[in-house]
């Protein structure tokens, strides 16, 4: 059935070239150097003006004076908090991309999609980051919990302490360390369980053929999608929303989902295009690329819809305890530019750039759009996490870029290594023929 595509000098397995490894190594070294430079800069700036400095105290208390919500005690800023905050951004961002890629695979099986049968190995490979990302998340949380998550401080729940916070105390039933850690381990564990089940049956399908595995994968994926719908929202509250402990938003789970999802789609599209340029995946035709481009376009708009739904209600209702979230970002010299950049990169750019049919059909447009959307959503996570952790002490410098490079090189290494483990084509997928002739 697949014979005649196989004959046409097609590379079936991805080869992780040493030249690619070398460029990833350079990226890693550049990242480490930039991080050291950035850390050094922050430490020296930290020493340059102490906290008694009047100019600094004005700066940091500009909204604290106006908005009484922040009257609660916060420990003074330390340089390593910025490092921790960045670690957390990268961990959440890359973990989200890998779980969303697995979600993409599951969706294809649930909907019994034919068009995507030929490309499923790429999102499957992106999922390889999941176990490593999960481990990193647990380690980093163990080190940084007090510095990132304000609610982890014991004194907030102690009525005799002057720093007692009754709002956070009210959320104690949900936001306490054992329950939080339990949820984190439970979700990561179950996600990984489903991922390994999917991998197992995919490998079995390659070996034995027939539609047995495909039917099994349908069942597994269905259960996973239902579980993911619930667990992803809770994970978003835990890992991102709980940083701004006082604040809450009912849109937040979807907001994080949309951001993860569109990033994963952009990465899948970009990887497929790059693989095609290097002589792999020659059976993936322009219609499949077109459909992937449509996904990136559509979910960029979806992200905007969610983002705006959250913003408009808070803007219009104008309740101080809700608006504080946007005041922190809009009234700040540090974050205001990123707020606008976020909207431009994640909405205006993909919306206008990917609107025409040609831009989604020809890879040179998508090759520009996908990295920009990916970076845009990194900025999105930067904006979700940094203002909550660092307040007015945040910034965007060498450290942010350096840590992104480090994580990116590790992430790419893991997923490219993962790509070599299975053949690039699912030769026994019952829908493969449909994917090869996909025509729109």
């Amino acid at each position: 059935m697949f014979k005649h595509y196989r004959d046409s000098s097609m590379k079936e397995r991805f080869e992780f070239m040493s030249s690619t490894k070398k460029s990833l190594m350079f990226l890693l070294i550049a990242g480490i150097l930039l991080s050291i430079l950035g850390t050094y800069q922050i430490i020296s700036a930290d020493h340059a003006h102490s906290y008694d400095d009047p100019t600094h105290s004005i700066e940091s208390s500009s909204y604290e004076d106006n908005y009484p919500i922040d009257e609660n005690y916060h420990p003074p800023f330390k340089w390593y908090q910025r490092l921790y905050s960045n670690l957390w951004i990268n961990i959440v961002y890359f973990l989200g991309i890998s779980i969303s890629a697995i979600f993409f695979v599951a969706i294809q099986y649930v909907s019994q999609a034919g068009w995507s049968a030929g490309i499923l190995r790429v999102p499957l490979a992106i999922g390889r980051w999941l176990p490593i990302g999960s481990l990193l998340m647990l380690i980093v949380f163990a080190i940084t919990n007090h510095d990132i998550f304000h609610w982890t401080h014991e004194y907030l729940y102690d009525k005799s302490d002057p720093r007692y916070d009754y709002v956070i105390d009210g959320k104690k039933a949900y936001l306490n360390l054992p329950f939080f850690l339990g949820r984190m381990v439970f979700f990561l564990g179950i996600w990984y369980l489903f991922y390994s089940l999917i991998l197992k049956h995919v490998a079995k399908e390659d070996e034995k053929g027939g539609s047995e595995s495909w039917k099994k994968l349908f069942t597994i994926s269905t259960i996973f999608v239902v579980f993911y719908a619930f667990s992803q929202s809770v994970a978003a509250w835990d890992w991102v929303l709980s940083i701004d402990t006082h604040w809450f938003s009912t849109m937040f789970g979807w907001y994080v989902f949309a951001s993860w999802w569109v990033s994963a789609l952009a990465l899948i599209t970009y990887m497929i295009i790059i693989l095609k340029d290097n002589g792999y995946l020659s059976f993936v035709n322009h219609s499949v690329i077109h459909d992937l481009g449509k996904h990136v376009f559509a979910f960029s708009v979806f992200w905007t819809y969610i983002w705006f739904s959250q913003f408009l209600l808070i803007y219009y209702a104008n309740i101080p305890e809700e608006t504080i979230y946007f005041v922190e970002r809009l009234d700040s010299d540090t974050y205001y530019p990123f707020f606008m950049v976020n909207l431009i990169l994640n909405f205006f750019f993909p919306f206008l750039f990917l609107m025409t049919r040609a831009s989604k059909r020809f890879t040179r447009f998508l090759k520009i759009a996908c990295p920009i959307v990916l970076f845009g959503h990194f900025i999105d996570f930067y904006l979700m996490i940094t203002p909550g952790v660092l307040k007015a002490n945040g910034g965007f410098g060498f450290l942010e870029i350096g840590l992104l490079f480090i994580f990116l090189s590790a992430f790419l290494y893991v997923i490219l290594q993962g790509l070599t483990k299975l053949p690039l084509v699912a030769k026994n997928h019952p829908m493969l023929e449909e994917s090869l002739h996909h025509d729109i």
């Binding site: 408009l312 219009y316 025509d439």
Partner: protein, 177 residues
């Protein structure tokens, strides 16, 4: 049917695969096809007929942009220029508040405009009568119409060509176009 109309050769096809092959070979002979009528959408028929991509999306964009401008003009005119009002402590020009209405108007006008344009360009407008070469093209037969004057072949040759490419029957029809 008046004699003043245009003369067409009509070929009836039973099967869409036969039809698609017939379109290719008829076009290869240098014959220009006036139109093909099918009871259902046939995949890939536009490519075979050599149709250019529809410009309907341009119309959709224009109507959408019209909707956007109309909505913004209306709201800014009412809320900012004609009778400025402070609502919920917002500015006189609260753009985020205008976005939902602007979005709805854009979608509404682009959808209506697109449907209207489609009806007009495909002869489904209320004041027009759709050309039907053979009524069976609305039921179970595919109909290929070839304008005789625009081709070098004569009636007999065209009929022969259509039959040799799988037409189940052929006829001559005079239509006002």
């Amino acid at each position: 049917m008046s004699d003043s109309g245009t003369k067409f050769v009509i070929g009836i096809y039973e099967d869409e695969d036969v039809l698609l092959n017939a379109i290719s070979s008829v076009r290869e002979k240098g014959v220009s096809i006036y139109e093909v009528y099918s009871p259902f959408p046939v995949h890939g028929i536009e490519d075979k007929l050599g149709y250019k991509r529809s410009r309907l999306s341009i119309a959709a964009f224009c109507f959408g942009f019209l909707g956007l401008s109309l909505a913004l003009t209306m709201m800014i005119g009412m809320m900012t220029i004609d009778w400025p009002m402070i609502i919920g402590g917002k500015d006189f020009l609260p753009l985020p508040v205008f976005i939902p209405v602007t979005f709805e108007m854009t979608v509404l006008l682009s959808a209506f405009g697109m449907v209207g344009t489609f009806f007009v360009i495909s002869d489904l407008k209320p004041w027009g009568i759709p050309k039907t070469f053979d009524l069976r093209s609305t039921d179970n037969k595919h109909v290929m119409a070839i304008e005789i004057e625009k081709n070098q072949m004569n009636e007999v040759e065209l009929k022969k060509l259509l039959v040799s490419n799988g037409a189940s029957e052929t006829s001559i029809k005079v239509m006002d176009v």
